[in-house]
């Protein structure tokens, strides 16, 4: 397996994911939420194909999600919709910043054979 790659995650809003969550469509909501969009270079460095699984590890949490190709993404940055997945990775430490790091989550990304993270409801 390829070594981990350092990525800064920037969260964004996904209207369809939020709509599915509101309507109680848990599978659709989860499928839209459990993704990270990465640059072609970072996917290659990870040795992961699009739709392959990756483990994201921040200072405060770990999740397994699906990797997606984002040709407009700069290397070193990844994009995820705001959801239960990102809240597992986001940290809040007022000695470092006033606000939680929604737009700057530092993670180590590595290829994974594990299932996509799902929480008991």
């Amino acid at each position: 397996m390829n070594p981990p790659v350092s990525i800064v995650i920037v969260t964004y809003r996904d209207a369809l994911q939020k709509a599915a969550e509101k309507k109680g469509q848990s599978v659709e909501s989860q499928e839209r939420a459990a993704v990270i969009r990465l640059s072609p270079g970072d996917l290659k460095a990870l040795g992961v194909e699009e739709y392959g699984r990756v483990k994201l590890r921040s200072d405060v949490g770990i999740v397994v999600v699906e990797a997606r190709l984002d040709r407009s993404s700069k290397p070193g940055f990844g994009y995820m919709p705001v959801s239960r997945y990102t809240s597992e990775l986001i940290s809040y430490d007022p000695t470092k910043a006033k606000l939680p790091n929604f737009k700057r989550i530092e993670v180590q990304v590595e290829p994974s054979d594990e299932d996509i993270t799902i929480w008991a409801t």
Partner: protein
């Protein structure tokens, strides 16, 4: 069946041209709603999604839930009230009265999102204007750190396109310029020209460059183009999104300096892209009552400080009982902080079943503001919007429950 007006409370656009057709208590048809508004209306009629009143997971009557909630609030020495951003102004006032009666801390989600921006506007540090003021007069629109297409799906269609396009022989012609400052390609950036594309976290540097150029100094070609664009305009509007707030870590001082500097060439106003439909209402109401927009304690008169913010209260174990009203912190806030709530009783008001209602000891299933209960709200631009009742339901309003709780804890 007839069409009924529904002021959509799916976000702070508060679209007032949405219509629903109701048969009995069921919605049969929806006109002019975006994906978010339609999801709200669809969930409203789904009994599987609606939250019943419950205590410790067991469905109860409203009276029993009020009894248990007031008991929990009375026995806790340090109470925290959080939320109210999805409640009417009337319910917010009742929530603030309850906080005062309990000597509680009160805060809302603005303390970790748009709060600093709204505070700058309310204190006059940043110029703002209402959508009715900018309509037909502004000639430059800048979405900064906001992909409105996803966060506020009808924002462009409702507040920009109808007023700034004209049918000419060549087709629809844009009368105003639409541009954006963004960190990634988005649906919104795809209709903007030019797009000022920054690296994530690069807003402060970009603002510094703009300031430098405005003062006669040097800067990047992008910053020069930005300043030229401002100079050519007569009335510019910046729609400030969460991307900007988080990039600046809530410190709008340099941004305010930039707006002031650029205002020598044009009229420039800033409108926050508020998410929750009445977050601005909460901020304005609390500001009028206490002089602060959020993070207030009524424990000893009126106090304000970072320690009264929701995340800091939870992180530092400063609350013994948390009352969450119309908010779902367990869905999107840092879980490593929320784990600190273990053992702390949570009382939650929500029309829907959410991760927060699932974590709560007492749940109040409430009426949906703007659909099942009327009132007033403050739109993102500061205009007060009346919310008529669009259909009936058997659910109690936030205001009714808050007043019953206030009676209980005061009596």
């Amino acid at each position: 069946m007839s069409l009924v007006k529904f002021v959509c409370t799916g976000c702070s656009c508060l679209c007032d041209d949405t219509e629903i057709e109701v048969e009995g208590t069921q919605i049969k048809k929806i006109n002019n709603a975006c994906v978010r508004g339609a999801a709200l209306l669809s969930a409203a009629d789904n009994p599987q999604r609606r939250a019943p009143c419950s205590v410790n997971g067991q469905e109860t009557s409203l009276a029993e839930a009020v009894e248990e909630a007031s008991r929990l609030l009375q026995q806790a020495p340090r109470r925290l009230i959080f939320g109210l951003d999805n409640s009417t102004l009337e319910a917010q006032a009742a929530g603030m009265e309850l906080a005062q009666a309990l000597g509680a801390v009160i805060d809302d989600s603005s303390s970790f999102c748009h709060g600093p921006l709204i505070e700058s506007i309310l204190t006059g540090a940043l110029p703002s204007g209402s959508l009715s003021q900018i309509k037909d007069t502004a000639d430059l629109f800048i979405y900064w750190g906001s992909n409105a297409h996803q966060s506020h799906p009808r924002h462009l269609a409702k507040f920009f396109l109808p007023f700034y396009t004209e049918l000419e022989e060549a087709g629809w012609v844009q009368k105003a310029q639409l541009c954006c400052v963004e960190v990634r390609d988005s649906e919104t950036s795809s209709v903007c020209e030019p797009v000022f594309k920054l690296l994530p976290g690069g807003d402060r540097d970009f603002i510094a460059q703009v300031l430098n150029i405005s003062g006669g100094g040097e800067g990047t070609p992008e910053a020069k183009t930005f300043v030229e664009l401002i100079k050519r305009s007569h009335f510019g509007v910046i729609f400030a999104g969460l991307g900007l707030t988080y990039s600046l870590d809530g410190d709008y001082s340099l941004f305010a300096e930039m707006v002031q500097k650029l205002s020598q060439w044009t009229r420039l106003v800033v409108i926050p892209m508020v998410g929750h439909f009445n977050m601005r209402g909460f901020n304005e109401s609390l500001y009028k009552k206490t002089g602060y927009i959020n993070k207030v304690s009524f424990a000893s008169g009126i106090s304000h400080g970072e320690e009264f913010g929701f995340l800091e209260q939870v992180r530092s174990h400063l609350a013994d009982c948390v009352l969450v009203i119309g908010s779902d912190p367990f869905s999107s806030l840092p879980h490593h902080v929320l784990r600190e709530l273990e053992g702390v009783p949570i009382i939650c008001f929500d029309p829907f079943i959410t991760p927060t209602t699932k974590a709560a000891q007492v749940v109040f299933g409430t009426a949906i503001s703007g659909l099942e209960v009327g009132g007033r709200a403050i739109r993102m631009d500061g205009d007060e919007i009346p919310l008529p009742v669009a259909k009936s339901s058997g659910y109690p309003s936030d205001e009714e429950i808050l007043k019953r709780l206030a009676e209980k804890v005061s009596g």
